[in-house]
Structure formats: structure tokens, C-alpha cells
């Protein structure tokens, strides 16, 4: 405990003395973490939109006109028996037309101009979210296509899956870039720690000669790295939060209409904690590496 208190006190003195170079290293760490935080935030929001879309993704089973009731009932029963199906709703031709009229009132004339109701009846099949995108869905849709009374099967999830893959790839690339930036930030912190190690060479020699334990000799430098890294990450979280507030204010309403999500979301608590924890971690690691010679 005394070693820890000592390490923090000495590290604090050292950071104050380092002044500008400490600020530079906090800045570098912050830039790395702002990049990471930006990616994280973008990815959290994109993921949210995707999830929303995925959740509402349904299999539409369009039926041929003039379908006998027993065939329809048999089909509905078949759908309801599928383990991956959460709910089945029948949309009659009339209901489909009514929906269209409600959704696009300015096109009402078009619909009424056609002599008979052009909309087919359909089953709207909602899948269990955890199954959406799985191989069972493909199997189900394939089986349905050939079935008696089925005109067409549409699954809007398919392109979503493709989109998800694109997003995954982008996220991976972002992670790599963030990793590289983090490594750079680590090197900066290590350089600053090495500077203070240099400045305190005489002190270290004396500590070694009085038989100070390694925790006392190296502790302050590890803590210095820890504090620099943590400060950088906290600055980054604050900057990302500001950017988020601004984005939500100026872009939020427009985006919300476009992507169908009520509001943009800030980093989750988990992401913020991971960022700050990562900052402390990278800093401490850099401090540990830089102070290897002090033993």
C-alpha cells in the first residue's frame, strides 16, 4: 500500500515536471482513442439499425389468387409448425390494398384505376430473431417456393445479411486501424516515461543502493504510463461524447427519419468502460516496458 501511494505521488510529480511532453503523449493517446471511439460509436449505431431491420425482417409468402380455404389453412398450419417461426399473419387482398392506400395516399388514384385489386394475399412470417439469417431460413424459403398455392416467396433478409457482412468487414478494418494507432500511442507514452526515467537516473541509482524493492523503483514509472494512458482515453471519451451531442443535435432528426431508429445512440457504458480501461492498460503496459531498465 505504501509502495502504491509512493508510486502515485512520484508519478504525479513526474508528469507535472514533464509538462508539455506529458500533454503531447496524452494528446496522442486521445487521438488514437477518439478514432477507436468514433469507430465504436459508428459501429454501435450501424449495428443497432441492422438489428432493428433484421428483427422486422419477415418472409413474405405471396399466395395465388382464388386459393381454396383448406389449402390456405394447411399452409398456415405448416408455417406455424416451423420451429424458427415466431408469428404468422394473414394479409388478405383487401387488407393489402387498404395498407397501400394508407401508406401512399397520393397514389390512391393508381390503385382504384386498376379494374381489380392487384395485390396478392400473403402470409407475413416473422422469424425468431436468433434464427434470422441461419441456414434453416434458406431451407424454409426453398421448401415454400415449390408449394401448392404459393406464388412467390420473398425474404428481405438476404441483402441484409450481405450488408451485415460488409459492416463486419468494415468493423474489422477499423479494429486494425485502431490497433495500429493504439500501438503508436503506446510508443509515445513509453517515450515520455523513458524521458522521466532519464531525468531521475540518479534517484534510481540511489534507490538501488539503499536496497529499495523493485515495486518502489519501477512502480512510479508504470503508474506514470497508466495515468497518461488513462487521461488520454478519458479525454477521448469526452471528445466522442461532445461529437455525439453535436451530431445528435444537427443530424439526429434527419438520420432518424432515414434509418428508422428513433435516435442516435452514444457509446454504450460497456464501450466507454472498455475505452478508458484500454487507455489505462496501454499506458501501464508502455510504462512497464519503458521502465525495464530500472531494476
Amino acid at each position: 500500500m505504501t509502495a502504491l501511494g509512493y508510486a502515485f505521488a512520484e508519478a504525479w510529480t513526474s508528469i507535472r515536471r514533464a509538462g508539455r511532453s506529458a500533454a503531447v503523449s496524452i494528446g496522442t493517446i486521445a487521438v488514437a482513442f477518439i478514432t477507436l471511439g468514433g469507430f465504436l460509436m459508428a459501429s454501435v449505431n450501424v449495428q443497432r439499425v441492422l438489428d432493428r431491420w433484421l428483427e422486422s425482417a419477415e418472409v413474405s409468402v405471396y399466395l395465388v389468387d382464388e386459393l381454396p380455404d383448406e389449402v390456405r389453412t394447411a399452409l398456415e398450419l405448416h408455417l406455424r409448425q416451423q420451429p424458427i417461426v415466431a408469428a404468422v399473419e394473414f394479409v388478405s387482398k383487401e387488407k393489402a390494398l387498404a395498407r397501400f392506400e394508407a401508406d401512399f395516399p397520393e397514389l390512391q388514384d393508381v390503385a382504384t384505376a386498376v379494374p381489380q385489386n392487384p395485390f396478392p394475399a400473403a402470409f407475413e412470417v416473422r422469424l425468431r430473431p436468433e434464427e434470422a439469417g441461419g441456414p434453416d431460413v434458406d431451407e424454409l424459403t426453398a421448401g415454400l417456393s415449390g408449394r401448392d398455392g404459393v406464388a412467390d416467396v420473398r425474404y428481405d433478409r438476404r441483402w441484409l445479411t450481405r450488408l451485415t457482412n460488409v459492416v463486419r468487414t468494415a468493423q474489422l478494418a477499423a479494429a486494425v486501424i485502431a490497433g495500429v494507432l493504439m500501438l503508436g500511442a503506446g510508443f509515445t507514452v513509453a517515450a515520455v516515461v523513458r524521458l522521466s526515467l532519464h531525468a531521475r537516473r540518479g534517484e534510481i541509482d540511489i534507490m538501488q543502493l539503499v536496497g529499495a524493492p523493485f515495486s518502489y523503483i519501477r512502480g512510479p514509472f508504470i503508474v506514470e504510463g497508466l495515468l497518461l494512458g488513462g487521461a488520454g482515453a478519458i479525454v477521448a471519451v469526452a471528445v466522442v461524447a461532445l461529437a455525439y451531442t453535436a451530431a445528435a443535435r444537427w443530424l439526429g432528426p434527419d438520420l432518424a427519419g432515414f434509418i428508422g431508429v428513433a435516435q442516435l445512440q452514444f457509446l454504450g457504458l460497456r464501450e466507454a468502460v472498455v475505452m478508458v480501461g484500454g487507455g489505462f492498460g496501454v499506458g501501464a503496459a508502455a510504462g512497464t516496458v519503458a521502465s525495464r531498465s530500472a531494476r
Binding site: 540518479g202 534507490m207 543502493l209 539503499v210 536496497g211 529499495a212 524493492p213 523493485f214
Partner: protein, 223 residues
């Protein structure tokens, strides 16, 4: 207390700084190491402090073979040894009080005890009125007394001093030597390397003369 057997030290691939040194110093002795420049006095003290490792031979201090110590044992050993250098080696950014209490602090000593003990030794070297001064605000003699206070603060069994009066005028040198005599009177073994023949004569203790890294003669100085 100290025993060396065939102790040798070669720096790099060069000449022997110490060669085949067999030396015994008893517990509670006060010994001067002397000899011409380059004779190996500092080298011997560095070996005793484990700042260097011997090229050949053994150093045994208080029953411990110094070449066989683990890292932790080296730390434990150094806590039983006080050191004083010609250039004082004080930390410029710390006050007098901190420079001395530092040696206790890094050993995890309780704060209250650090304070009491630090004040005690600083009072003993006559600097209780300069506790909050920084080293650069002190004279050479005062700085050396701080260094001696630091060497003594954790009550070592052995004190090693390498030309502790090298930068000081004769009066101050005598003052410093008196401090070493007092330390020694308390039972602590003291080894002082110096060129100063006057000082050796004045203190009147055992003298170990080195020449080219070897013993030149064991002589009892006149009492």
C-alpha cells in the same frame, strides 16, 4: 565482517583493477583504504556494494557470499550497508528531510517512524535547522552530512565511504571523520577510502594500502 578471497576485477578486457586480494576486516573495525590513484580503492568499495561483480574470487560479508545472492537478497543485503560518496549523491529535487527519509520510505517503514528516525539522525549530524532546504542551498560539508545521515538512517552494520572528504576543506574533513568515529563507536564497521594522509594520521586507525590492485602493506597507524 568482510572477507575477500583471491578477489580480482578486470574491467572490459583490460588490466586488473584488483588482483588476488585477500583481506579480512573484523566486525566493529574502522579501516582506511588508501593508495595511489588507480590502485583499486573505489573498485573494492563498488564490489562490496554490489555495484560491480567480481571477475574472480569471493567476497563474503557477514557470512553472505556476495556472488551468490539472488536479486531479493541483494536488496536485503544493501539495506544493511550505508554508503557515502565524494559527490554526495543527493537528490536535487528533494529537501534535506526527504533525501534522508527517502531511504526509509522505500523500505516501507511506517511514516511516524520515518519522521522520528530522520529527525534523529539529522539532529545528530547537526542539520536539524535545515530540514526543508534543498541540497543546492547547502555547503559541501552540509551536503556531505546529509549524505552521512542518509547512510545511517536505517542503522546499517557496515558503512562504506569513498573519499567522503574529497571535496571538503581540512576543518570540515575532521568534522566528517568525527561523525564516522561516532558511528564506529556504536559498533558499526566503517571502511573509508581516502588519499588524505593527514586525516588518516589524525584518526589513527587501521590502514589498508592498495597498489595496482594488490595489498601493499598492512600497517597499524600510530595511536
Amino acid at each position: 565482517m568482510i572477507e575477500t578471497q583471491g578477489l580480482g576485477k578486470i574491467y572490459g578486457r583490460g588490466l586488473y583493477a584488483l588482483r588476488g586480494l585477500n583481506l579480512t576486516i573484523d566486525k566493529g573495525e574502522f579501516v582506511f583504504l588508501t593508495g595511489p590513484s588507480g590502485a583499486g580503492k573505489s573498485t573494492l568499495l563498488r564490489l562490496l556494494l554490489l555495484q560491480e561483480t567480481p571477475t574472480e574470487g569471493e567476497v563474503i560479508v557477514a557470512g553472505r557470499n556476495l556472488s551468490r545472492l539472488s536479486r531479493h537478497e541483494v536488496q536485503a543485503y544493501r539495506r544493511t550497508v550505508g554508503f557515502v560518496f565524494q559527490d554526495f549523491k543527493l537528490i536535487p529535487t528533494k529537501t534535506v528531510f526527504e533525501n534522508v527519509s527517502f531511504a526509509l520510505r522505500v523500505l516501507g517503514t511506517a511514516v511516524e517512524q520515518q519522521r522520528r528516525r530522520t529527525y534523529q539522525v539529522l539532529k545528530w549530524v547537526g542539520l536539524q535547522h535545515r530540514l526543508n532546504s534543498f541540497p543546492e542551498e547547502l555547503s559541501g560539508g552540509e551536503q556531505q552530512r546529509v549524505a552521512i545521515a542518509r547512510a545511517l538512517v536505517n542503522e546499517p552494520q557496515l558503512v562504506l565511504a569513498d573519499e567522503p572528504t574529497g571535496n571538503l576543506d581540512p576543518d570540515l574533513s575532521l568534522e566528517i571523520m568525527n561523525l564516522f568515529r561516532e558511528i564506529n563507536a556504536g559498533g558499526t564497521t566503517v571502511v573509508v577510502a581516502t588519499h588524505d594522509r593527514e586525516l588518516i594520521k589524525w584518526v589513527g586507525r587501521r590502514v589498508v594500502q592498495l597498489e595496482h590492485g594488490q595489498l601493499a602493506g598492512l600497517a597499524e597507524a600510530p595511536k
